[in-house]
Symmetry: C2
Subunit: 589 residues, 2 copies
C-alpha cells in the first residue's frame, strides 16, 4: 500500500488540486443523490471524502459496503467545496476529496457507543471499551496536551541542568503516610516490597550523592479509598535541588510554570505568582487551596457575635470558636427558606451544626435570628459585611476548623451555583508559612502537615522540644483554581533534627532507626541543604484541558473500587503462583 | 548565604581575576608550607582552592578543621597557577582559587570507601552506601548520559508527532512470558494485580484507539532469577505506530539511533544499518545477537567431516547435526594442550561434549584427531578454513543448537581474550527474518520466538495450520556490539489470526478468551495494521557509557537476589498489613 501523503485534518484550500493519499476511520457516511460522502477521521481530525460514479465506479462500489469505524485507504484529489456547502465548523470544511481509489484496510463491528466528543454514555461502558472511548477526538487532544506538558517541563528542567533519574518502583514499605501497595518477594519468602508513595527518600539520597539537580516524572502509588480525584497510581513532576533556598526553588518553579503555560496553552502567566500564608488562606477562604477566581470571602464577625443575645453565637466564641459568615451579594431574593435549608444540609456535611442567616431587605435586616440583635449590633454587622439591600448573609458558629471547612465548602458551591467563576482564568497561588504539624486530638498525637522530612523554619528548631504545635515549616504549596497542584519544602538535612522530628511524630528511637536508619546515617556523610517540589501531573492536565474528571487524563484508569474494567484487573491467580510466593489467601471459597 | 556564581569544573584561564562563590565537597586536602590546598568537587568536576594566611587567617583556621567530604562555601578569586604547578589531568588545572572567605556548610563522617572513579571496593559495600558510590564522578557522568539519551529520544519522537502515553503499572497477570510480580488487592480480597512485563497490550490498544503514534519510556518488571545483566525492574523505550510497514518502522528507528548517537556521543552512524537474517547470523556467529566488531566466524565443515574416519564427526552429521569450527588465526603457538582443555571446559558449559582441534604447523597439520583424515581431506579442510601455518582450528560436532551456542560463546571469549575487539566501535545490526516459533522438544510445544502478538509474514499465515515451525515472523531485533538492544515486530491485528496464534501456543479457546479476550474483541472494532519496537534503555546506557555492569546504569539497583542493600527491601511487614490483604504467609516463624 502507498504511504500517506497527508493527515486528514491538515488539508486546506491551499492543497486544492493536489493528489493525496489518506488513511483513517469512517466517522460518518451519507448517501445523497447517487454520491457517497464519508467523514474520514485520523488523529489530526476529519475531512470529507466524496465518491462519485463519474470519478470511480469501483471506489463507489466499495464505499457502498462501508460502515462507521471501518478503516479506509483513500487516493484522491483535493477540490473546493461549492460556496453553499462549506462547513465552517470543520477546519477542513472548505475542501473535500474526490476519491479515485479506495481500499478497505479493516472492517469494524458496530461500536457500542458513538465515537463523538459529547457523550452521555455511562462511564462504566466507556471504561470497558476504553479503546473506543479514547477514539473520541477530545480524548486524543487531552493526551496530546499531556504529552506537550511533560515535554515542556522536561525541556525546561534539562535547560536548567537537571538530570532525570529513575528511582525504584519495587522498594521498602514505610508506615507513615498512606497505605502502601505490597509486592510479595519470591526469593525472600515472607518478605515484601512496597510500591513508592513518592520518590521522596530516593531523591533526598540523590542530593546526598551530590547530584544537586534531580527530576523525574514519576509514578506513585497509594492504596487509599478512592475519590473522584484519586487513582491508585498517579504521576508527579518530582524535583529536588541542593543549595537553593525556599525563595529560589519557588522562583525556579514559577519559571517552569510560565514556560509550560505559554507552550501548551499560549497563556502568559505573570510572575511572581501571588502568595498567601496558610493562616490568611484559611481565614479568608476556609481552605488551604483557595479558588481565587472569585471573591465571596469569609468574614469574621466573632467580635460582633459575642455581644449578641444569640446563644449559639456567644457560646461558640466563649468556647474558643468563631462566628464567620459569607455575604452572598444580591441573592437575598433568590434563596427561599427551603433553598437555605438545602445549603444548611450541605454545610452540615462539613460539620456545621446549623446555618444561621439574615437578609438585607428594603425594610431592614430580616431572618429568624434578627431578633437576637440590637439595632446597634445590626449596624456593626452591616459595616462588617458591607451589607446592602439584597444581600444574603450565611453564618456558621463553631470551632475554627468546622467554620473553615463548612463555609469554605459553601463558598465553592455558591461560587459554582451562582456562576461567579471565570472559567477562562488560571489563578496560580502559593500558600506558604505552613505549620510543621497537625495535631490529631482523637489520637492525641502530632502528624506531619506535609511529610516527616520537611524542615522547620530554622529559628523554630528549638520549639520542636517545647512547643511543636507552633513550629512553622519551610513548606509551600502551589494552588491552581482551588486545586492543590502539589507542594514542596526545604528538607531536614541534619541527623539530630530528623531524630527530633521522628520523636515529635511518636516514633521510638528503634522504630525510627528500623524504618529510616539508612537515611539518617546518610545525613552524616556530607549532606547538602536541599529541597524541592512535587506537582501532580494528572491534575495539571485535568485543569489545563478543562476537564473535571481525573480519569479523563489517564489512558487506562481504575474505577472507584480500583478495578480496570477493560482488562478485569485485579483478578484471581493460579494457586501455584501463590505457592511460589509462600502465600495463602484467607478468603473462603 | 550567597548564591553560587560558578560551578567548580567550569572555571578556566578566562576567569582569572574574577571573584567567585563556590559550593561543594572536599575531595582532598593537602597542607603544604603553611598553605592548605583543597580539591573542591561539585557535579561539574573539581577545582583547587588555596588557603593562604596572607589572604585570610580566618578562612585558613576553618580550613584546618576540614576533612574529606565536608561541604564548603567558598568565596575567592581565580588566579593562575604557576608554570610548574599546572595540572594537565584536570580541566581546571591551569587555575586555582585564592580563598578570601570560607563557611562550613556541613561536616561528614569519614566515608567507608574513598570517593574515586577507580574503585576496588566490593560491590556489596558500594550498594549499601549507594549514595556515596553515586558521588564518584564516573557515576554522575553515567546518569548524565542516561538523561541525555532519554532527552534525545524524546525530542526525536516528539518531532515525529508521537505522544508519550503512560500505561498502568497495576495491571493484569498474563501467563505467557516470564514470571509476573503480583500485587494483592485490598478492595478485592483474593485477587491480584500484576506489574507489567511490558506495555505491549496497552500500546496495541492505543493503536486500536487511533492514537497512531505512541511512545513511552516505560518501567517493566520480571520476577526472574537474575543474571548480571538482568534487574527485576528495567526500562524500555517503547514505540508503536499504525499504518507503517516493517521497513518504515526500521527506517524511523534508524533515524532515532543516528540522532541519539550524534547528540550523546558525537558519533556519526551511517544508515541504513547493516542487516542480517536470523539464519545467517546463527550460521556465521552462532548467535542471534552477533558481535560484528571482529571476525572469527564459524565455518561449516560438515561436508568435509562426514567423509572422515572420525566417528564423532561422522555420527554428528549422520544424526542431522553439524560440524563447525573456528580458525583462530596465528594462535597455534599460544594455546597449549592445557589451554585448549580450558577452552573445552568453557564450550562444555554450552553443551559441547568435546572440543576437537588441529594446528597448522610448519611441518603439517597436527593434533590428536589428525590421524582420522586423509591428506586429501586435510587439503579440503585447509581450503575451507583458509588455513595457514600458525592457525589453531577448534571444532564442535553436535546438533545445530549446541554447535551454535558453544562455538558462538567460544568465539566471544576468544575475541575478548585475544584483544580482537575494537572497543571504540559501535556496530549496530538488524537481525531479521525470524522464525515465529521456537519448538521446545522437552515440553513438546511451540513457544513464541518473540511474543504471541507478532505477526507472521502474510504469505505464511496458512502455514499456521499446517507447519507452524516454518512460519517466518515480521520481526526485527536491533543488536549493538553483541547485545540485543531490543526487538520489534509488525503485530497481528486480525482476530482470526490471533486466535490461530494462541492455538499454536497450546491455549485452549477458553484460556485464550479468559486472558486476552478483551484484546481480540478490540481487534473487531476497526483496528489498523500496526507495529513497533522496544529497546532496553539500561543496556543502551551501559554500552554507550562503556560500562560492563547493568547495575552501574540504575541509580538504586537490586542485587542478584533482588534485594536493595541500601533500604533493605524486601522486608517483613506487620501482620495487620497482611490481614488487610486477606493474606497469610506460609513461612514458618
Amino acid at each position: 500500500m502507498e504511504q500517506r501523503t497527508h493527515l486528514c485534518g491538515e488539508l486546506r484550500e491551499k492543497h486544492i488540486g493536489e493528489s493525496v493519499t489518506l488513511k483513517g476511520w469512517v466517522q460518518k457516511r451519507r448517501d445523497l443523490g447517487g454520491l457517497i460522502f464519508i467523514d474520514l477521521r485520523d488523529r489530526s481530525g476529519l475531512v470529507q471524502v466524496v465518491f462519485n460514479p463519474e470519478v470511480s465506479q469501483d471506489a463507489l462500489a466499495i464505499a457502498e459496503t462501508v460502515r462507521n469505524e471501518y478503516i479506509l485507504h483513500v487516493v484522491g484529489t483535493v477540490v473546493s467545496r461549492g460556496e453553499g456547502t462549506v462547513n465552517k465548523n470543520l477546519a477542513t470544511g472548505a475542501i473535500e476529496i474526490q476519491v479515485e481509489k479506495l481500499e478497505l484496510i479493516n472492517k469494524a463491528k458496530n461500536p457500542p457507543f458513538a465515537i463523538e466528543n459529547n457523550t452521555e454514555v455511562a462511564e462504566e461502558l466507556r471504561l470497558k471499551y476504553r479503546y473506543l472511548d479514547l477514539r473520541r477526538p477530545v480524548m486524543y487532544d487531552t493526551f496530546k496536551l499531556r504529552s506537550k506538558i511533560t515535554k515542556s517541563v522536561r525541556d525546561f528542567l534539562d535547560g536548567e541542568d537537571f538530570l532525570e533519574v529513575e528511582t525504584p518502583i519495587l522498594t521498602k514499605s514505610t508506615p507513615e503516610g498512606a497505605r502502601d501497595y505490597l509486592v510479595p518477594s519470591r526469593v525472600h519468602p515472607g518478605e515484601f516490597y512496597a510500591l513508592p508513595q513518592s520518590p521522596q527518600i530516593f531523591k533526598q539520597l540523590l542530593m546526598v550523592s551530590g547530584f544537586e539537580r534531580y527530576f523525574q516524572i514519576a509514578r506513585c502509588f497509594r492504596d487509599e479509598d478512592l475519590r473522584a480525584d484519586r487513582q491508585p497510581e498517579f504521576t508527579q513532576i518530582d524535583i529536588e535541588t541542593s543549595f537553593l533556598s525556599q525563595e529560589e526553588i519557588m522562583e525556579m518553579t514559577e519559571r517552569m510554570i510560565v514556560k509550560m503555560m505559554k507552550e501548551t496553552k499560549d497563556i502568559d502567566v505573570t510572575t511572581p505568582l501571588p502568595r498567601m500564608s496558610y493562616d490568611e488562606s484559611m481565614s479568608r477562604y476556609g481552605s488551604d487551596k483557595p479558588d481565587t477566581r472569585f471573591g465571596l470571602e469569609l468574614i469574621d464577625v466573632s467580635s460582633f457575635a459575642k455581644e449578641s443575645n444569640f446563644k449559639v453565637f456567644t457560646s461558640a466564641v466563649e468556647n474558643g470558636g468563631q462566628v464567620k459568615c459569607l455575604n452572598v451579594k444580591g441573592q437575598a431574593g433568590s434563596y427561599s427558606r427551603k433553598d437555605i435549608d438545602g445549603l444548611q444540609e450541605y454545610a452540615g456535611r462539613y460539620g456545621a451544626k446549623g446555618l444561621a442567616w439574615l437578609k438585607f431587605e428594603e425594610d431592614g435586616i430580616k431572618g429568624p435570628i434578627a431578633k437576637f440583635f440590637s439595632e446597634e449590633e445590626l449596624a456593626t454587622l452591616t459595616t462588617a459585611v458591607e451589607g446592602e439591600v439584597g444581600d444574603l448573609i450565611l453564618f456558621v458558629a463553631s470551632d475554627k476548623s468546622v467554620v473553615a471547612d463548612s463555609l469554605g465548602a459553601l463558598r465553592l458551591k455558591l461560587g459554582k451555583d451562582l456562576g461567579l467563576i471565570d472559567q477562562s482564568k488560571f489563578n496560580f497561588l502559593w500558600v506558604t508559612d505552613w505549620p510543621l504539624f497537625e495535631y490529631d486530638a482523637e489520637l492525641g498525637r502530632y502528624f506531619a502537615a506535609h511529610h516527616p522530612f520537611t524542615s522547620p523554619v530554622r529559628e523554630d528548631i528549638p520549639k520542636l522540644d517545647t512547643d511543636p504545635g507552633r513550629v512553622k515549616a519551610q513548606a509551600y504549596d502551589l494552588v491552581l483554581n482551588g486545586y492543590e497542584l502539589g507542594g514542596g519544602s526545604v528538607r531536614i538535612y541534619e541527623r539530630d533534627v530528623q531524630e527530633k522530628m521522628f520523636k515529635c511524630l511518636g516514633f521510638s528511637d528503634e522504630e525510627a532507626k528500623a524504618q529510616f536508619g539508612f537515611l539518617m546515617e546518610a545525613f552524616e556523610y556530607g549532606t547538602p541543604p536541599h529541597g524541592g517540589i512535587a506537582l501532580g501531573l494528572d491534575r495539571i492536565v485535568m485543569l489545563l484541558a478543562g476537564r473535571t474528571n481525573l480519569r479523563d487524563t489517564i489512558a487506562f484508569p481504575k474505577t472507584a473500587s480500583a478495578s480496570c474494567l477493560l482488562t478485569n484487573a485485579p483478578s484471581p491467580v493460579a494457586e501455584a503462583q501463590l505457592d511460589e510466593l509462600s502465600l495463602k489467601t484467607t478468603v473462603e471459597e
